[in-house]
Symmetry: C2
Subunit: 211 residues, 2 copies
Amino acid sequence: MNEPRYRRRKEDRPAEITAAAFEAFAENGYDATRVDDVARRAGVSKGLLYLYFKTKEELFKAVIRNFIMPMVDALKTEVESSELSAEAFLRGPFLDFAKRVPKSPAKILVRLLIAEGPKHPDLTAFYWDNVVSQGLSALSQIIEKGVRDGSFRQSALNDFPQLLLSPVMFSIVWSIVFQSKHALDTDKMLEGHIDMILRAIKRNDDQTGAA
Amino acid sequence: MNEPRYRRRKEDRPAEITAAAFEAFAENGYDATRVDDVARRAGVSKGLLYLYFKTKEELFKAVIRNFIMPMVDALKTEVESSELSAEAFLRGPFLDFAKRVPKSPAKILVRLLIAEGPKHPDLTAFYWDNVVSQGLSALSQIIEKGVRDGSFRQSALNDFPQLLLSPVMFSIVWSIVFQSKHALDTDKMLEGHIDMILRAIKRNDDQTGAA
DNA sequence: ATGATTAATGACTAACCAGTCATTAAGAGA
DNA sequence: TCTCTTAATGACTGGTTAGTCATTAATCAT
């Protein structure tokens, strides 16, 4: 009956607290999240939390780091190890990724970045270095590969790989803001987007396909 | 030397306060904005502010309404009064609009909507009714017009006019989060986007043009 | 066993801030 | 000029919360 009040598991604590904090920040954003609430979710006292994280802000940054790293690593390996043609990569792994993100909990990071980024320049810098610039250069590689082997023509995508990502971002924002009231079939939209892009940039060997 | 402490200009006050609040909310977001600060910016006491706006939240909503309404009205008139072909409209007024928004102060509203929307369902609903759904249906009209007169083929844009807007949203988010450190030529990107879209959806009478 | 070490607690405080209200003075009317 | 209405003030309060610290109890070393 008397649950052990003290557990003493120094190694696990930070990860447990970070996970709880992720939940809390995701639900409420930075300001509205109470440190007490994070501690309670982690089954830990506030004092202990402050033993591992000096301030609320440091905790916030730890959350971002912890949950972004794995995603980026996964994407990079996928890109680099793939032997698919550029088109096949866009229709396959890239589309999968694009469909997955707006449904994953990680979408919340976008909200946090937009909402809190301007107040935390170092966090934004971290995000840039570890996520955005790497993601964009991976996409550029794919596109250039397609151009080199003659299957894609030169297009705006060469200068702006962002255009591949913008509907993904849009899906995320939509799902955060409107999804509950105004469902959007993001999977279909993203498929349509890839179809359109490919129709625009493929050299005309054949000119069929896609709705 | 003794500036008049009391000015008594009942009619101007609400607009002055809303303008000050827009600045403050834009800089700091909702939670971090102090009502005292808004009052100071408006050159007014906090007590007076509470004479015109019952709560901070009501003030926030007034800000959104005040700054969104004119934009939407402008866009709607433009769409409805235009006699241009679908392609000309996309390359002209629509592209202008798309270029303008990410540079205007109104872009901040997107940040506020993403950050605070989930906590303010009625505000989100207002935004939907007055901005998003109207904007989308205007775009749908344009696209259908192009399809009807045979210049566009059926495409993903028929189901997802959002695809036209996603790079605009992307530009806004980029400019909020990264612009200071990593400039993006949003004008060029948006031009490239329209070029690609048109290449994808135009029926092949001619198949030349655009980089 | 027994002290030494340190993970963990939670009551406390110092600061902050949305919203109130008793008071002041500007302008309107007579 | 005097009175009445109301725009405008700003000190105050009640509630909230990030961060602290004196204390407690697991675990470890001997």
